[in-house]
């Protein structure tokens, strides 16, 4: 197992394609906290977040052959799967309502224990993303948060904010373009 932990994610993905469960376990250990954090942030309850992460990682295990390293890191791919699954969960159920009514509070938000060099680098990336979001004008950041983290469609956001759909779409585009500039170095590093 130790030699597996020395491998890069991309090499582990190659082993996973051969059905190597131990390689999958290493990938899980590396990215489960990020995955669970995103799922929890989106769906708001522990049980729903666990369902999302379980579904996402089993999908990763079963469809690992579809991973293409030229299109981004394993981490962003994993988070992409989690995001999609969380949105599915939000839209097909009443998770939105559950989240609003959730009594799960800060006691659920305990820090992950990892403090490795890799984890430090990830925290640095997390800080960069938060700072980039902080640079956005409030109206653009609000739209991104509602769409990305809360899973609302642009028409739902338009209703929530009482704005034309076209305005929402435009803000989405402007926000992502600005984020692209702000995250330039992080994006480059992940290629």
């Amino acid at each position: 197992m130790e030699w597996l932990r020395s491998l890069a994610d991309e090499d582990l993905m190659q082993l996973m394609r051969g059905g190597d469960a131990a390689a999958f376990e290493v990938v899980y250990d590396r990215h489960a906290t990020a995955a669970f954090s995103l799922a929890y942030r989106m769906v708001g309850t522990r049980n729903a977040a666990e369902d999302v992460v379980q579904e996402a990682f089993l999908s990763l295990w079963r469809s690992g052959a579809r991973y293409d390293r030229t299109r981004g890191s394993v981490r962003t791919w994993v988070l992409g799967i989690v995001h999609n699954r969380a949105i599915d969960a939000l839209r097909r159920a009443t998770v939105h309502d559950k989240r609003r009514a959730s009594d799960e509070g800060l006691e659920e938000r305990f820090e992950a224990p990892e403090r490795t060099d890799v984890e430090v680098a990830r925290r640095s990336e997390a800080r960069e993303v938060r700072e980039a979001l902080g640079v956005l004008p409030d109206e653009q950041r609000r739209v991104i948060e509602l769409a990305y983290f809360s899973g609302y469609t642009h028409t739902e956001i338009a209703e929530l904010l009482a704005l034309p759909v076209g305005t929402i779409k435009g803000r989405m585009r402007l926000a992502l373009q600005k984020l692209r500039v702000e995250l330039g170095s992080s994006l480059e590093a992940s290629r």
Binding site: L4, L15, G18, G19, D20, A21, A23, E25, Y28, A32, T33, A34, S37, R41, E50, D51, Q54, F57, S59, W61, R62, S63, Y67, G72, T76, W77, L79, G80, I81, H83, N84, R85, D88, R92, A93, E108, R109, E111, A112, E125, A126, R127, V129, L133, I144, A147, G151, Y152, T153, H154, I168, K169, G170, R173, A175, L176, L179, R180, L183, L187
Partner: protein, 251 residues
């Protein structure tokens, strides 16, 4: 890109964020096949979206979650090992993978190991539901051949709903909502029905999450297939259908 290039440009950001409504997403997916400007825009913005999830405050997952996931992965890895060259996996790292699997399962008494592998009635690969670009598990745009060309309704038992998306490369993906879990110890298996009514097994086995919603890509191309059927079968799948038909999807 300028405003004159494509009137759908603003849809690219909403698509990358998965914020288009379902019917708009279907339309934009088709549009992407013919619009290089929007494909480029989507590629750029999708890369940005993929990083947003990294900015979340860390929350550790419970150890029990890993235990549940690894139990399923180990079970499927054993099936894959039993499948050998029939499995839907590349063979390059197979020797090393098998060695590692032997180590993982070596704690089992030999009969138990044989019994566990013997439960694999078929040499099957297990294929999961997959998502599409702009809503896809791969977090990016899909090749044109994989964009859904047609979406067909399917008949499903109970209150569940199902539809099948067909692509230009003749692959099919089930989009399932509200499907009950298969009976304990069983999985769902997809069958390919020929025009003469006979069926052949696919390598596609799946289960569903607690809310019954998932997407499942059928491993085999469906060219010449009359219908897709889904039955519940023993874990590991069957050579012939033995369970009840849960879904019927005429193609």
């Amino acid at each position: 890109m300028t405003d004159e290039r494509c009137p759908h440009r603003d849809d690219a950001a909403a698509w990358a964020l998965r914020a288009l409504d379902a019917h708009e997403a279907d339309a934009f997916r088709l549009h992407l096949e013919s619009c290089t400007d929007c494909r480029a825009e989507v590629a750029e913005l999708t890369e940005v979206v993929a990083h947003l999830g990294s900015g979340v405050e860390p929350v550790a997952p419970p150890p029990a979650l890993k235990a549940r996931i690894m139990a399923e992965v180990d079970r499927e890895a054993a099936l894959l090992a039993a499948a050998g060259p029939e499995a839907d996996r590349p063979t390059v790292p197979a020797r090393r993978a098998r060695r590692d699997r032997r180590a993982r399962w070596s704690w089992l008494p030999r009969p138990a190991l044989v019994g566990a592998l013997g439960a694999a009635l078929l040499a099957v690969g297990v294929v999961a539901g997959t998502q599409l670009g702009g809503g896809g598990d791969d977090g990016g745009t899909r090749p044109a051949a994989q964009a859904a060309l047609r979406t067909l309704p399917a008949t499903v038992t109970g209150a569940a709903t199902a539809r099948v998306e067909l692509t230009a490369d003749r692959s099919a993906t089930f989009d399932l909502r509200g499907l009950a879990a298969p009976p304990r110890g069983q999985v769902y298996q997809v069958w390919l029905q020929r025009p003469d009514g006979s069926v052949r097994p696919s390598h596609t086995l799946f289960t569903v999450p607690s809310d019954g919603a998932t997407r499942v890509r059928v491993a085999e191309p469906v060219a010449g297939v009359k219908a897709l059927l889904v039955t519940n079968e023993p874990s590991g799948g069957s050579r012939q259908p033995t369970g009840d038909v849960a879904i019927t999807a005429p193609l």
